[in-house]
Subunit: 74 residues, 6 copies
């Protein structure tokens, strides 16, 4: 019965994408479920995976919104 929650910033990492693509989300869901199966023996259909996309201005690191933090740490 595991629950895996994946929080990521709402930005693209695939060419031309402005946020996580449908295919990437499916890969995250598959990978997270397989991880719980392989490490803890949890059946695939007993695992929930929830992906939360967070606007970059809503995510802070180093006391700054991530885009500013990334620019500063160049």
């Amino acid at each position: 019965m595991p629950i895996v929650t994946i929080q990521v910033t709402r930005e693209g990492t695939a060419p031309g994408a402005s946020s996580t693509t449908r295919e990437q989300k499916a890969a995250l869901i598959k990978g997270a479920s397989e991880l719980l199966r392989d490490v803890l023996g949890k059946p695939m259909e007993s695992t929930f995976v929830v992906i939360e996309e967070v606007d970059t201005e809503n995510w802070g690191w180093g006391g700054l919104p991530v885009k500013l933090a990334a620019a500063r740490s160049g």
Copy 2:
């Protein structure tokens, strides 16, 4: 001072609705608050209820996005 967080997929369950309706949300808030009052004696005004709606492609079960999982388990 309880906090009840209800995570559901962003899909309609009422006729013609494409997501949880305002009335359904009010019923969830009322029901969750009454549950904490009836079981633990918590005053209604001491309970926070937060409803999080998650896009279906962001929710996985059985290693698949829920829509695919539901189709497969038809």
Copy 3:
């Protein structure tokens, strides 16, 4: 596939109990699952309920740990 997370302070509300009892937890689980069934039509076996008990010194309200806040608002 709903997930209901119930966060409560680790204190007793039943006579002689120092925290939420097993019976109260079962009632919270039953009530929350029935709420999602009755309001959104979600099958009971599709709902996860997670209860998080939080030490009172880890819960703040009004800028104070809850025990102090409760004492102050007498």
Copy 4:
């Protein structure tokens, strides 16, 4: 490595704003990171801050959606 999650209703508190402004979010990120630095000595760049904005109809208090609850408690 702290994580600070700030959940607020999606409503404006600055003049003319309909939700939390970019500047307010930056101030929340800065303040939360400094708080963990000042109280627990955590380096600024070790702290993640995540701001979650919740629609007012998705937030309940006193058994009612917050806008109704606020109107009722005038």
Copy 5:
């Protein structure tokens, strides 16, 4: 900057263990970080993984605490 939160019931899945072992936790941390690296290109050192162990009486499924639910669905 992803955050992966893994919630599991506090029970053993390795021989003789009564809860998730240190080695299993390390494997979950490694696997989750690698998943975000492989799917979204996130550097390993930019990912936080948090494992939450939940007592079985605090986890409900099908309207019952999981141990009862498992016994019933034998």
Copy 6:
């Protein structure tokens, strides 16, 4: 009605402490509530603060449990 959740590893940062002290928790609660008051004008008594302490073996960074990660990055 903000909720501020502060997740920290269960380790001491005050002399002789093995985890976050009662005084530090009170300071975190006060500081977080004041932050929401000062930035968003939220009344102190409308803010919940929840502190979650996580065992170090349950927190990962860089693909490793934090204690190993810290040792490795010296």
